[in-house]
Amino acid sequence: MGDMDSLYSKKVMEHFKNPRNVGEIENPDGIGHVGNPVCGDIMELYIKVNNGTIVDAKFKTFGCGAAIATSSMVTEMVKGKSVEEALEISNRAVAEALGGLPPIKMHCSVLAEEALKSAIDDYLNKSKGR
């Protein structure tokens, strides 16, 4: 949990305050859309792929502090990685990169992982179709 006097770690708050890669990518190579209003978190993740490498990633998120921070972090983590490498990114890795998440917020990191997988799936399906 990092700092005792705060729900979130410094790193989470930093990404929450200044989220990286907010927005949409025009003509993305893959889109991941996960979550639903019932659970309170919705993430959209866009990727741009060039020669098997993720060259850009952006997100839009409706959700709590952890949801926004994990979205921001996962987009940072995938940039420059190959698609295969990106598929290896686990929710734990995202949470750890953020200096940890409170137990009840771990599901946000799961959502971030799912958003990424879903965007990559979308990309792989599309490239097959071509």
Binding site: M13, G40, K60
Partner: protein
């Protein structure tokens, strides 16, 4: 950065006068009220003085007040105490679907122990219909429990009407008045209640102390067994400083409640108007007029509550939300859902509750900051695109 505290419904600061009243009872007059020597009897006298003040605040007799560890303690005592004392008469309880967790969870516990519980619905404003109460009554009903005002969206329930029905049917009536005592006038006789819960830290008293009003003749099982403190209804060495503090808070409330309610209602309405004017697609939650003087609760479309709350916190502004993310259950507020809100709208709620020390300036500052925060969050919301 100066802090702007707008979460008075969650807890209030302890009034400096209250702290001053409490202090001697830690180190100087620390005697045990059960002790026979004069030094212990001084503590006993202090407790009885506090009891008189708390009783006065709600129009009760002092021997009808039992001190507890807080609002949750009072609610648990009332609900379980009446249920277990009347098992031979029946096993049916009536409550509402928007009660505080203390009442809901105590009722669910009883549900597991063989009691049947009716959770009454509410309308879009959060109002319980007294007609529904009447209809729900069976010959096995042993308790009706409806809160005086809801802690989330501030709606004030038709307690007097329900009290009349309960008293006509001869069924004990419990009211969770944790949010109203000290904030609007409360009179146990006018409301025809048998049991009424209060909590010190919601009216500028200390945390860890509360009280249950028990009308003379109401049967209930003691909450804690042990010594004969509190007429054997709640055993345990009394929290003397806490009780003294609660008494002082009750004394102050008697003097200030009317003026404070008037002032806060004015600030509240100004605040609500300001928010609705400055933020598109924002809605007031709860009843527009039958409402706690200090409660502002809005839903902001396309934006999640905790993310607003955290951004406000970064500006030193303390607020609350009914969003799922604020609870370990990950369920959004049961209150807003009971009012028929969509999950989306429930997740987007923000509660701002005012108090004794809230100023015009503080509200203006929020009105300046909040629209920017909302705009920023909307710019990253995937909901907006598809909905506007």
């Amino acid at each position: 950065m100066k802090r702007i505290y707008l979460d008075y419904a969650a807890t209030t600061p302890t009034h400096p006068e209250v702290v001053k009243a409490m202090l001697p009872y830690f180190t100087d007059a620390f005697g045990n009220p059960s002790s026979l020597y004069s030094y212990g009897q001084e503590s006993k006298g202090a407790i009885e003085k506090a009891r008189v003040e708390v009783a006065k605040l709600i129009g009760a007799r002092d021997e009808e007040i039992v001190f507890t560890s807080g609002g949750t303690g009072a609610d648990n005592f009332a609900i379980k105490g009446v249920a277990f004392a009347n098992e031979n008469k029946g096993n049916h309880l009536i409550t509402s679907s928007i009660e505080h967790y203390a009442v809901i969870e105590a009722s669910k516990f009883l549900g597991k122990k063989g009691f049947k519980v009716t959770y009454l619905p509410v309308d879009e404003y959060g109002l319980v219909d007294p007609g529904d109460v009447k209809k729900a009554i069976t010959n096995k009903t042993i308790l009706i429990s409806v809160m005086h005002a809801n802690n989330e969206m501030g709606t004030i329930e038709p307690i007097a009407e329900i009290g009349k029905i309960a008293s006509e049917e001869g069924i004990p009536f419990h009211v969770d008045a944790v949010q109203t005592v000290g904030h609007i006038p409360v009179d146990v006789n006018g409301l025809e209640v048998n049991l009424l819960s209060m909590s010190g830290h919601k009216l500028y008293g200390p945390k860890g102390v509360g009280a249950l009003y028990i009308r003379k003749g109401t049967k209930l099982v003691p909450f804690m067994h042990g010594g004969d403190q509190e007429r054997s209804r709640r055993a345990g060495t009394e929290n003397v400083p806490g009780i003294v503090g609660f008494g002082k808070a009750a004394e102050i409330a008697q003097q200030e409640v009317d003026k404070e309610a008037e002032h806060l209602s004015y600030l509240r309405d100004k605040f609500i108007k300001g928010i609705l004017r400055q933020i598109d697609h924002a809605h007031l939650n709860g009843h527009p007029s039958r409402r706690l003087p200090n409660n502002v609760n809005v839903s902001v479309d396309f934006v999640e509550g905790e993310s607003m709350l955290l951004n406000l916190d970064l500006e030193g502004i303390c607020t609350s939300t009914g969003s799922a993310c604020s609870s370990s259950s990950l369920e959004p507020s049961h209150v807003l859902l009971a009012m028929g809100f969509s999950h989306e709208k429930a997740h987007g709620s923000l509660r701002l509750t005012l108090g004794k020390w809230t100023t015009d300036q503080e509200i203006e500052r929020v009105l300046e900051v909040l629209p920017k925060i909302v705009a920023n969050l909307r710019s990253m919301s995937p909901l907006l695109k598809s909905n506007i």
